[in-house]
């Protein structure tokens, strides 16, 4: 069953048709990669899913409910979490606090006025956050200010924060952009582990073919705002239309 149904979605910025007529279904418990050359509309599409942009035409259904017109925090509460291209974490806060916030958001919803209670008394939440940090090998850094961590650790923390909310759909926007090879491989392993251990659907936008082919169950190739082909990684590799779209910017260059 498709957990995410994108139907006839179009978005225009002034004279630029960023998204033509996108139809795309993401099946439950799969990893679906969206690839395409620069300017293909990958990020625009993602922004339409999380409420940052509202498409001009079409519909986006998540688990049978429309996400259009909802604010980002509402869409998140429906069960969609997003990892950004550059890790978006609470840089001024400690690693532990970063982890606590999504745990509170999961339990208490978009707002709760718990202004007198002490965080230390919230044993369940603290326990959950500590467990998450342990799973992610970040527990040693719990008191560290998160902005002083390495890029790879920030990425791990951001993914951990998203997972703490038990999302049904995890959206990843170029999760390995600007990473060294070792960090990239660590991230791939982490994502593989998440895919194996959880009931989670992952949609990933990626430039790095190595990442895409190691993870994806299905791949959609986007070019000039419209899906070119959608198929399994093996079929995509040799597909003539894909080669055409990528011609001149070879796989290694990406």
């Amino acid at each position: 069953m498709a957990i995410l149904e994108i139907k006839d979605v179009g978005k225009r910025f002034g004279g630029l048709q960023a998204l033509g007529n996108v139809n795309l279904n993401v099946e439950e418990n799969t990893v679906h990669a969206i690839i395409g050359p620069n300017g293909a509309g990958k990020s625009t599409l993602l922004n339409c899913l999380v409420g940052k942009l509202i498409p001009d035409t079409g519909s986006v259904m998540f688990d049978g409910q429309s996400v259009l017109g909802r604010k980002p925090f509402e869409i998140n509460q429906m069960g969609i979490s997003r990892v950004f291209q550059t890790p978006e974490i609470f840089g001024d806060l400690t690693v532990m606090e970063n982890m606590l916030i999504p745990c509170f958001a999961k339990r208490d919803g978009a707002f709760r006025m718990h202004a007198i209670e002490s965080i230390a008394d919230e044993k369940d939440i603290v326990g959950k956050a500590e467990k998450m940090l342990e799973d992610m090998n970040l527990i040693d850094k719990r008191t560290m200010q998160s902005s002083s961590m390495s890029r790879g650790d920030k990425r791990r923390l951001e993914i951990a924060m998203c997972l703490a909310q038990d999302p049904r759909l995890l959206l990843l926007d170029e999760p390995t952009a600007g990473m060294a090879r070792a960090d990239t491989n660590n991230t791939i392993d982490l994502l593989k582990q998440i895919k194996d251990e959880r009931d989670i659907t992952i949609a990933i936008i990626e430039h790095d073919m190595h990442v895409v082919f190691s993870l994806a169950d299905r791949i959609t190739v986007l070019a000039q705002g419209t899906p070119l082909v959608e198929d399994t990684p093996d079929k995509i590799k040799g597909h003539p239309k894909v080669r055409e779209a990528y011609l001149g910017e070879s796989q290694d260059a990406a």
Partner: protein
């Protein structure tokens, strides 16, 4: 202690000690000595120190935690003051209803202002709050004169209704009290050449300040407080973590508005009069200075900042030319004149110049305010202890 961890409990105890022993601490110099003018242990000033401490503690909950810089908080202080004085005119000279109503009215007003202003952030938010405050100030001076008394302001009069109080005897003037305890009543203690003044109003204000400070510690350590810091750190991540930032910032805004209203109500309880000038934008700017000077986002910073600025305002501004002449009388005439000419612009009416310079120094060299200064001194000391035999060389890089 009271649900606080050891460190916060200690901090609360220190502040409690400072507040309760203030009549001694602020009066270190014997009466009649040349230094006596640096004594700040008189009721009027001590009351202002703690009341503006409350104002700054509340402001810090908004500015220190969420980073939203309001430039209109004096409006809430002013509204609280007007509400308090009306309670004293209509209901009773007991300060309890005055203070409770001032908090409530300031809370409602800040809900309105916050609801509108928080649609924008950054400089636009600051401008909106400034506009609201200036609007309130202008209205208080003009069309709202029947409520605010315009230029003359308001004070309780002999023939006000005061439905809860017994009628005053002829010639008796209405005095603010707490169930009969006169706010202006003081007792004096003479030890040698020292005179210490214990004022009822001061102690009531100090206890309210301690309660406010305690509440602010609880807020800082609560999940709510953490969310406010998260707003300051990364709103984007907040939104994509399923958290609605607007009610968080609005709640912080209203809480700080209520603190301002409390401060306004207390000002009236101590000194029963109000004028619109306490809503002027410079008054809003003053609380920003207090918070930054002391250390925004720290627990004790705003209290220190408020104390520091109010002390400067009242003490440095009193140093006039004849005082300077006394100080430098031992010097030869020519040098004495030069010294006085050099120092004069910085004291008396020029105290703002001194304050401005100090503020610049703090912002440039101690971005964390006086609290950061204290921490650096503390660190320098502990390092010195750790390596006793090493010379000053180890100390210099720390600066």
């Amino acid at each position: 202690m009271f649900g606080l961890n050891k460190k916060d409990g200690g901090l609360l105890l220190i502040v409690a000690f400072l507040a309760l022993a203030a009549p001694f601490i602020l009066n270190p110099f014997p009466e009649g000595s040349a230094m006596a003018q640096f004594n700040a242990g008189y009721p009027d000033l001590m009351q202002r120190l703690v009341i503006f401490g409350i104002f700054a503690i509340g402001f810090n909950i908004l500015f220190g935690l969420t980073g939203y810089l309001s430039f209109g908080h004096a409006a809430f202080l002013g509204v609280g003051s007007y509400a308090a004085i009306w309670m004293m005119k209509l209901l009773t000279m007991n300060v309890i209803p005055a203070i409770v109503v001032s908090i409530a009215i300031a809370g409602l007003f800040s809900l309105l202002v916050g609801w509108i202003s928080l649609r924008r952030s950054g400089i636009y938010f600051s401008i909106l709050t400034l506009a609201f405050a200036q609007m309130s100030y202008a209205l208080a001076y003009s069309v709202l004169t029947p409520i605010t008394g315009g230029e003359t302001g308001l004070q309780p009069k002999y023939n006000d209704p005061r439905i809860l109080d017994a009628a005053l005897e002829p010639g008796q003037s209405p005095r603010a009290n707490l169930f009969g305890l006169d706010m202006k009543a003081s007792s004096e203690l003479e030890i040698g050449n020292w005179i210490f003044t214990f004022n009822t109003g001061y102690y009531i204000a100090a206890i309210v300040m301690l309660l406010s400070f305690y509440l602010s510690i609880r807020i800082f350590r609560s999940p709510f407080g953490m969310m406010l810091r998260a707003v300051k750190s990364n709103q984007q991540r907040m939104n994509y973590t399923g958290l609605n930032t607007r009610p968080y910032t609005l709640a912080a805004f209203v809480i700080s508005g209520m603190y301002a209203g409390l401060a306004g109500g207390l000002l009236v309880a101590m000194d029963t009069q109000v004028g619109a000038e306490r809503m002027f934008w410079t008054a809003s700017g003053e609380v920003v200075l207090m918070t930054i000077l002391g250390g925004a986002g720290t627990l004790i910073g705003p209290v220190l900042g408020a104390g520091f600025i109010k002390y400067m305002e009242n003490i440095v501004s009193k140093i006039n030319k004849s005082v300077l002449e006394q100080w430098f009388a031992f010097m030869p005439d020519g040098i004495e004149d030069i010294m006085i000419t050099l120092i004069y612009p910085f004291v008396g009416k020029g105290w703002h110049l001194t304050l401005g310079l100090l503020f610049m120094l703090v912002v440039i060299f101690l971005p964390g305010g006086l609290v950061e200064g204290g921490q650096r001194i503390g660190k320098a000391f502990s390092r010195k202890k750790a390596s006793d035999d090493t010379t000053d060389a180890t100390k210099t890089p720390a600066e």
